[in-house]
């Protein structure tokens, strides 16, 4: 009971003290508010772009890299190309050494709406294998992905996004209906629930890392190749192509296919590594590669790290904002020191009347905590304004990712109170050391 009573007393003391010097109080609250808000706003963007897009299985998803170009094209780290040639991708597909796997390339076919008078629209998506959907746990609204049989038979099937389903079929269950892409008819087998992982980890080699709009269509890989739906992602070539057109690209040493494999144990990972090296050695023996195997197998977090997907502007602004917070803290330490020591006389009296040091600690930390809470409240307000206006500073596809949610609000408040208490530690320590006798004498 006594504890509660004293708590109320400390709140009362803190409140009186804060009111006695409103200028200093406002200054401290402003400093904490601005510092916390700047940090949290930039953090909201940083958090959005540096997160793990598929945390539950990112460490089981691997991206193989095969050196199809040789030492002359390697950078100083000996890094092989970040995508595969058609030849290598097909070899990996047919060997099927992973539990689930998919080769993929980006497509942007044009879609001709059924009604006359409507302009054709351009959609983006990927040509993938059926295992892509269970491997990445793609959520479905209606239907599902397609079977291995559909892959093998180059079936004209398509999985579409919920948005496209809304546009074309008014959101109805469109499984079984057909749509026309690049002049050919495709049967809808699945409609995805909203799915737009950020960054687009399954094809970092070819896609922009962050995309405000998710992909609309997925078709079977072999169907895309057979129908001549051209790759709309990056194509990197080491030497001029010999043949023309899409066939020429498939025969070339250009890399344009991304690959992902699900390997769920360390044994599976090392077996897959052995398989890749064996494959490269085989190619070496066959005379296609004139160099020793130089393969890589990175999991998703390692690929994200290597590709440096977090834009440097995001990092720089977070760092500068944290710098601002540190200055605000140093400022608060100074002001609190002044504020607490100004009351040396009062402290002397309290100590002389028998208040233990512990009580003084409690009193002053309570005061710091109240400043922190007020700063946090201001910080919340400013963070809200900040998150709304990140579109000014960052590229739209990145700004769209920054969200104000409960966890951000919680962190803002905890950060504000936490740092203010931290700032209050030294001034409190100094205040508690005030010698009662000396203060009373000088009065």
């Amino acid at each position: 009971m006594l504890g509660y009573y004293m708590l109320g007393y400390y709140i009362d003391l803190a409140w009186r003290s804060l009111r006695r010097s409103p200028g200093l109080t406002v200054l401290m609250v402003l400093a904490i508010g601005f510092g916390v808000a700047a940090s949290m706003t930039t953090y909201s963007v940083f958090r959005a772009v540096s997160g793990d897009p598929i945390p539950w299985k990112s460490s089981q998803l691997f991206v193989p890299q095969i050196d199809a170009w040789g030492p002359s094209s390697r950078d100083s780290n000996g890094e092989p190309p970040d995508a595969l040639t058609y030849t290598d991708a097909m070899a990996l597909v047919h060997a099927h050494r992973a539990k689930l796997q998919s080769a993929m390339y980006r497509i942007s076919p044009s879609l001709v709406p059924g009604q006359a008078g409507q302009h054709p629209i351009n959609v983006s998506g990927h040509a993938v294998y059926g295992e892509f959907f269970p491997m990445l746990d793609v959520p479905f609204l209606y239907g599902s992905g397609w079977s291995a049989d559909d892959d093998a038979h180059q079936a004209p099937v398509v999985v579409i996004s919920g948005e496209l389903n809304q546009k074309l079929f008014d959101g109805a269950n469109s499984v079984g209906r057909s749509l026309s892409m690049d002049g050919k008819d495709y049967r809808v087998v699945g409609v995805m629930d909203s799915w737009n992982p950020q960054p687009r980890f399954y094809d970092l080699a070819s896609s922009a890392n962050f995309n405000a709009i998710g992909e609309s269509v997925f078709i079977p890989f072999e169907r895309g190749i057979a129908a001549g739906i051209y790759n709309s992602g990056n194509t990197n070539c080491h030497e001029p192509r010999t043949g023309p057109g899409f066939i020429g690209l498939q025969q070339s040493s250009c890399v344009w296919i991304s690959y992902m494999a699900l390997l769920d144990s360390s044994a599976a990972v090392s077996q897959y590594r052995q398989y890749l090296d064996g494959y490269a050695r085989e190619q070496q023996r066959a005379g296609r590669f004139h160099w020793a195997p130089n393969n890589l197998l990175r999991d998703v977090p390692a690929v994200l790290d290597h590709q440096g997907v977090v834009p440097s502007d995001t990092r720089i602004s977070l760092l500068v904002a944290l710098g601002l917070l540190v200055v605000c803290l140093v400022n608060t330490v100074g002001l609190m020191l002044a504020k607490f020591l100004r009351r040396s006389g009062e402290i002397g009296v309290r100590r002389a009347l028998g208040a233990p040091r512990r009580a003084l600690y409690a009193q002053f930390l309570m005061e710091a905590g109240m400043i922190g809470a007020a700063g946090g409240a201001l910080g919340l307000l400013l963070t809200g304004v900040g998150v709304m206006s990140v579109g000014w500073v960052f590229r739209p596809e990145i700004a769209a990712l920054a969200r104000l949610d409960w966890s951000l609000l919680g962190i803002t408040m905890v950060l504000a109170v936490g740092v203010t208490l931290l700032a209050g530690v030294y001034p409190t320590f100094r205040a508690a050391r005030v010698q009662p006798a000396w203060q009373l004498k000088s009065n």
Binding site: I121, Y230, S312, R315, I316, C328, N331, L337, A338, R395
Partner: protein, 410 residues
Amino acid sequence: MQIQPILAALKRHKAGTFLIALQIALTLAIVCNALFIIQQRVERISRSTGMIETDLMAIQNMWVGLSDENASEPLIKADLQVLRQLPGVQDALATNSYPLRGGGWSTGVRLNPEMKKPAAQTTQYFVDDHALATMGAKLIAGRNFRPDEVVAIDPKKFQFSPTVMVTKALSDKLFPGSSALGKQIYLSDGTPPSTVVGIVERLQVPWKGGFADNFEANSTLLPVQLTGNFTTYLIRSKPGQLASVLKAAPEALFKANRMRVLPSERGVRSFAMVRQDAYKSDRGMAILMGIICVVLLGITAAGIVGLTSFWVGQRRKQIGVRRALGATKNDILTYFLTENLLIGLGGVLVGALLAMGMNLWLMKQFEMARLSPLYVITGVIVLLLLGQGSVLAPAMRAARVPPVEATRSV
């Protein structure tokens, strides 16, 4: 002015002195680097494209249902005819890209086929004889392309063009001290050379920064009309008629041929919009850094006012004693100003080192440029003045403490 007593007094306020100095040091370090970032972004934003940007617009066109890559050749010809005859249009151009578009072709330029490393990096603009007039780029030597020089080629089969125009920046880079006019350059491996027939004063590459920073004005124009699925149109309206052409041009294109896609986002843009889109994040970053600088300086100033006011309050009695012993108001004022100057000097000294250290780290992490010492010097002066300015009010209050204060107890 004696510094000794000030130092003695500061020794009794070690914590406060240290905190103010630390705050000044950190503020200096951050403000220097933030200002430097602002300057870099502003410099980037203010680069000229080399084009006359008023009355200019761009259309992004994608063909639908082409039977093969060459099938777009007559379509592009027809489109250009439609656009050039449209009321309000001065000239129009089909190209693969244009400055600030963000995507385009880049290649290395060699002076002879044996060169191991390219002598320069350049972008390639595939255009026709209307390029200079439409873009508003200035030919400073040689000649423009002739209509009969322009050929149509499938982009996946393109190898070389016998004639090209280059920008002056590229010419200077390839042939320092002379001109590229009439000389031969190699734009890819294993192909015949191209002869430079014209020099353009300036034309920016499609990229606005990053990897393109070291060849931002190295452009090559080729008299080649690329066919394929994607075509970009640049259109110059007659003076003041851009608004009507922005509306009329896409309508006319759809009227001529429906089998096309003009993306809803960035499909049809005036060049002012192109510029705004391209530099949006740079402008935003500069504004953010600016806000942070202002907040930082404001908080540091307020902190100095706060702590100095406290010290003045604490030392009223001592000030009174000094006044009673004959010190003038001016002496008291000078005392506090000098005290702040000493702390400030300590702070900026550490801060300057911190600023340069921070810049070195940013250079390593984010490939930033080296901080010019001018920024550090400017920052030092700004912070010292800020300190003096902030201390002025409390110091004047101190100077007003009457000598009689010496006789009062508190």
